[in-house]
Symmetry: C2
Subunit: 151 residues, 2 copies
DNA sequence: GAAACACGGACCGGAACGGTCCTATACTGA
DNA sequence: TCAGTATAGGACCGTTCCGGTCCGTGTTTC
């Protein structure tokens, strides 16, 4: 259903990694790439765009690299995906100029748009911190609910 | 976020149309295509696959066409999308043979898989009938909630 | 038997995606 | 100061997928 691009995937992985290593003042793209066997050049670009979008801070030069621009709790998965893949709507006719030629045609879109909003809401409620935490504890009791949504 | 292919879009539109015309014993692909300015040949194929998946009944020959195989209430948007686009997971590494080489890498995937399940749940709870109903009433009071999900 | 329909394979152009290469710039440490 | 390591970013490229078309076959009705 929801398809994440590999880039968005890589981005989330990298941010999670950064969240897990707060002690390091900066982590290079190469380090992350090697840790997860991700193409280094590609990851570098992804991190660059995340930096441009204000999610990361970067430092050039030796011992340079990237660090979270904000607290891991204040960065949502939604932001990351949005920054990397850009806005993706369900509707193929993305409410651009001419909505759908035939206004009657798009009666389906309205309910689906609400589905889209739900998904966005779910993604917004999941922080990088959540990703990092869920990763470690290894089944300590059952997982607590991440979100609860109504649309 | 969630991206529907145009094919799935067309499929939903067509099913909604069929749900709105229960009096007709069969509606031809051409008719639906013309009503919504959808490429006829393309729509034909979509309806064919939906027929193969058991969502539609087809009848060849003159005055033939398609009709819902079940009650519009018993067909979910999820089924339609699944039938047309096939299973789409969030994870790029679609839990195939080798999950991700590095098992440690995929710690992100588990929370996202749950997001995916939520989306699926939302889509499953929306029937073709819902789409057809939401289309008509034209703001009779506020829209009632479609779903409520917890993950 | 001809028209209208469903079926289904082959094909194709374009866009997007994943990925690489190459160059420029910035910072650090010896 | 110079070499090495890092970010920054443009150009490019192969593959895949998606939307769409074309063609031929089978089936039913008039």
């Amino acid at each position: 259903m929801l398809r994440l691009t590999k880039k968005a995937d890589y981005g989330l992985i990298a941010l999670k990694f950064l969240a897990e290593h707060p002690e390091a003042s900066a982590v290079s793209a190469k380090d992350v790439a090697e840790a997860y066997k991700i193409p280094a050049q590609l990851l570098a670009k992804i991190l660059q765009t995340l930096t441009k979008k204000g999610l990361l801070r970067s430092q050039a030069g030796m011992n340079g690299g990237y660090a979270l621009a904000r607290d891991a709790r204040a960065i949502s998965a939604f932001e990351v995906i949005l920054a990397i893949d850009g806005p993706l709507f369900i509707t193929s006719c993305t409410k651009g100029e001419k909505s759908c030629e035939l206004k009657t045609s798009c009666t389906i879109k309205e309910p689906l748009a609400r589905v889209n909003e739900t998904i966005a809401g779910v993604l917004q409620s999941i922080s990088i911190q959540d990703l990092a935490e869920q990763a470690r504890p290894a089944a300590k009791g059952q997982l607590e609910p991440l979100v609860s949504v109504t649309l």
